[in-house]
Symmetry: C2
Subunit: 180 residues, 2 copies
């Protein structure tokens, strides 16, 4: 951020009164421009014991397999975001179950949420952000070609928990080096 | 948003190629300025069966009682945010339990998360954003002076669930009229 989005004055970094963190502050209009983490929401879409994965058509990790997921938008709920992303990436309509995994990824300012889901009618397709989509049985999952750590961990937990049909919420941090 | 925060050119609202939503786009440098929901994280701090509430010293809802909670910051986890807010507002150090409530509030682009928590040493104080803090037994909770619906619902669920000592995750939408 270099300029105030309200008045175009060059912003400065300072700690506002009563605050304890450096913020972008506008010396022109006084606006404090807060920056906060984003939520990525997705699903584990299941049909007849198989899991639907999408081969990414876009960077990052183009060509790798992912669970359908993406940035939550303003004016929607986390569950709406998860359902929407599953439709957009895999043209699958899902019935959502419970929230299953929550990953904190502080070094990239993201929180990832995955919900249990079943594909309503067994139908799916290839959305604009996917090269290919496919139902995988457990033994077919391409573990070496999974896009992101949060997707891999969600799949691992799911397969582990499916054997006893209990899916407790998992809250976990993915921590690498943080910016300082 | 009126100006690009990178180059100060006046932004326009348009649907970028491959997208389906109106975004603020910079005709100067091409940047798409996405806007996404924010996370508010907090705790239900308990000590010897009593719940710690904070009387808000700041707007909105100044003078009303709240659970300690606030906006999650970049470079932290949801759990770190919850612990930090409890320290800042109530000078209480807590041991976190599980995630207990998740509220979607699409009309204000927020997701609220409350974690179970116990106050480590029974010590607490009055943080800068609080006028007063106090441990409340169940019968003392000032139901008519609670700050926000998500705080009230979290307290109600907690008291209900405490009787059988099971605290399943609650995911709920708080929906009023949405912007269109
Ligand atoms: Zn300004
Ligand atoms: Zn620009």
């Amino acid at each position: 951020m270099k300029f105030c989005s309200l008045c175009a004055t060059p912003v400065v970094q300072k700690i506002p009164e009563g605050d304890s963190r450096l913020r972008y502050v506008c010396p022109g209009c006084g606006e404090i421009h807060y920056q906060n983490p984003n939520i990525v929401a997705g699903t584990i879409p299941v049909y007849e014991n198989k899991i639907l994965l999408c081969k990414r058509a876009i960077e990052p990790r183009k060509g790798f397999w992912t669970l359908p997921a993406g940035f939550m938008e303003n004016q929607e709920t986390t569950t709406e975001a998860a359902v929407r992303e599953t439709w957009e990436e895999a043209l699958a309509r899902v019935k959502l179950g419970t929230l299953y995994t929550l990953f904190n990824i502080p070094q990239i300012d993201q929180v990832h949420l995955f919900f249990l889901a079943t594909i309503k009618d067994g139908q799916y397709g290839v959305g604009e952000e996917s090269l290919e989509t496919r139902l995988f049985s457990e033994s077919e999952i391409p573990w070496d070609e999974i896009s992101f750590p949060t997707v891999k961990k969600t799949l691992q937990y799911f397969i582990e928990d499916r054997s006893n049909q209990e899916f407790p919420l998992r809250v976990e941090d993915i921590v690498r080096d943080r910016k300082t």
